[in-house]
Amino acid sequence: MIEINRSRPAAPFVPLTCKIVGVGGAGCSIIDRLLIEGVEPSELIAVNTDLQALSSSVAAQKIQLGHSLTHGLGAGGDPEVGMAAAQDALPELRSAVEGSQIVFLAAGLGGGTGSGSGPFMAHAAREAGAVVIAVVTLPFGFEGRRRKEQAVAALDHLRQLCHAVICFENDRMAELVAPKTGIQQAFVAADETMSECIRGILAILARPGIMKVGIDDLLTVLRSDDPRCLFGHGESDGDNRAHEALAHALRNPLMERGKLLESTGNLLVHISGSNNLTLAEVEILMTELNRHIADETHLLLGTSIEPRLGSKLAVTLISSLGSPYPAIHQVETPRAVELVPEVTAAAEPAAETGEEADLPEDVPEPEPVLARRSRPAPIAPIARNVRSAPAPEPKPTPVPEKTKEVKQEVLQFEPVSRGRFEKSEPTIIEGHDLDVPTVLRKGFRV
């Protein structure tokens, strides 16, 4: 008698468990965008310090950070506050992502919550055993240097904690919209691109494919020394849909019309269509794409059948700028392991200060945020250590050096006169004021 083992699944395909966590204001708005675009709500988690922003979010699961610290206010653009707030809520964050295979972390870097709490979220997700992919934005250039520095520090931090970081620059995304459209649309366009990216990756990983792309392939592609990524997605249902979909994918400003593709080492191409997807179409698309990439580029091709697409064909391109890392995973390097306790150490005093700030609240003292602000001394140097995260032990020495550098740029000891052109419109080319004698500008002694 032949026994049929029914408990064994018929197909080897196991649905993927995944969570998408939006941290901070920008992260939450991406979560909202994803929900609008039809992602399963149970997969979405909104994390924020600002209670008001959190309550207006549509995510199924919401986590408020630092309710004893900021009392429902935002982190005020200060990553240290975000850090301390996340430290408080670490167990809660961990249990939220427990049991998922992949965790996407969406955040806008540069502010308080995204930059400060993002790394903690990543850490929590790693501990829960998930593959962590961070999808983050860098602030607009006009938001100022301070925010940029905070964002870059947080990005460095995330790169060491996550399996992959996909980083979008807001400045480049602004090219998505016409210069005259409102600022609202510019941010919506940025959110859309990011949510498109997350959905694209999810779809690639989750769909049963003929030529399957797995997490390993994705990580290979995203592993490079430059976190900035290339992402393009295009769909078309015309007669020449393979060509049009690719053209559309390349038209994404993050691609700079395919010019940047030349410099990538690895490129993931995912083509999906319904049952009418033909081999010829895949061939046309790949021949065209090959014109844009260098010969030695490592191509990872995946195709899948998605009945939902109907007559459409969709193509997704993912890669990262810069040269690929040697194929050792970051997690295994001792550097990253060492970093984790350091984060905890860094945040602990901050948490302590938070508690200290809480104490006076029993004695009537209405503004705990201000109270904490009034004594920033113990936190500031720690925060600097975290920013220069790759250093394994805290070094207090680089701190004064850094302040000195900044000062030199602000103070101009030798005011240079422009002579005859003093009152006329300056001719400035590439940051040089051409009205000042060339000899002076080039530091030439005559």
């Binding site: 005859r420 006329s424 001719t427 060339t438 080039k442």
Partner: protein, 405 residues
Amino acid sequence: MARDDIVVGLEIGTSKICVVVAEDQDDGTIKILGVGQVPSRGIRKGEIVDFDTAQRCLHDALVDAEQKSDIEIDNVYVGITGSHIQSINSRGVVMVPQEKGEIDEDDLASVKASAIDVSIPAENAFLHQILQHYYIDDREGVLNPVGIFGTKLEADFHVIHGIRNRINNTLRCVKELPLAVNDYVLNGLASAQVVLDQEQKHLGALVLDIGGGTTDYILYCDGAVRQSGVLAVGGDHITNDISMLLKIPMARAERLKVEEGSVVLGRSIPGERVLLKDETGFAGREIEREKLNTIIHMRMKETFEILLQRLASDPKFEMIGAGIHITGGCSLLKGIDDLASDVFGMEATLTHAHTMAGITSAFQNPQYSTAIGLVKYAQAVRSESPSPGLLSKIFNPLLNIFRRN
């Protein structure tokens, strides 16, 4: 009494205001009748900063020109420059309906409309829209598409634009005199008309008109304008550099530049000194020649390098056959052509207006290239439009009399 065949070019430059009065002769050539010139004041980098002073200078220059040419001037062609001038190349496409097949004038008009429909900032206005090439069904080198069968007509245009208010400032200064402005032309474009001949335009050439306050550049390829622009650095900057670094007055610095300056380094005897004579209010002193030349050299080298950087992105720049043509007052600096060939890596020559009749001293001076170029441009435009009929020849002067009163 104003004559029909008189064309007047007016260049409001940073160092001088120059008026060229010329006669458009029946055989299509131009004869220069007189040149009026006064040193300008109230103008920086090619744009008016002190309106009243500039207008007074302009008036003097016109009176000078009227006296020298014995012609009453009532309308002019004005040269425009300034750092706000920008340019782009743009292509337009129209599909010719199958049943028509043959391309006609309407198609040319609509392809032009589609090509020049480029987005420029709201405060900007178009200065020129210059045709480069037509393509019919992707076929190049069609000079006149009218009457040719095709389905797709494309045209490349070079569009030059600048800030409307800043162009109008210059024009208002002229109009208030009062003088009629027939047309306004980018300085660089005007200079190129007299500096280059047809063959050089086809071979490809770069014209650098280095004036007092600005350097106007224009690149020709295959007989059409390929790139153009203005860099607000000119001879004034050299004078200012000398004045500041050697701590001498502007007027002395200007004279020192013109009389002793050179852009070539390492040619002077080590320790050689230039003597500045003492005069009222200025004690004489000696200046090391190499020091003076270094100041000039550094400035010009940097200027050329900025221009090279702007132009080198154009793939056609490498392939220009007729080299670089330097004109404008600053081209009188010694050794400037050698420096330009060094920086650009191609032949550079000093040049001035050609193909003119009349006062030789006027057209052979590179300082007048733009003003003469304006006249030439005007003549070229006039020869394209149909000549006025007999009736209008009689009535127009009469009408003009009424208009003026």
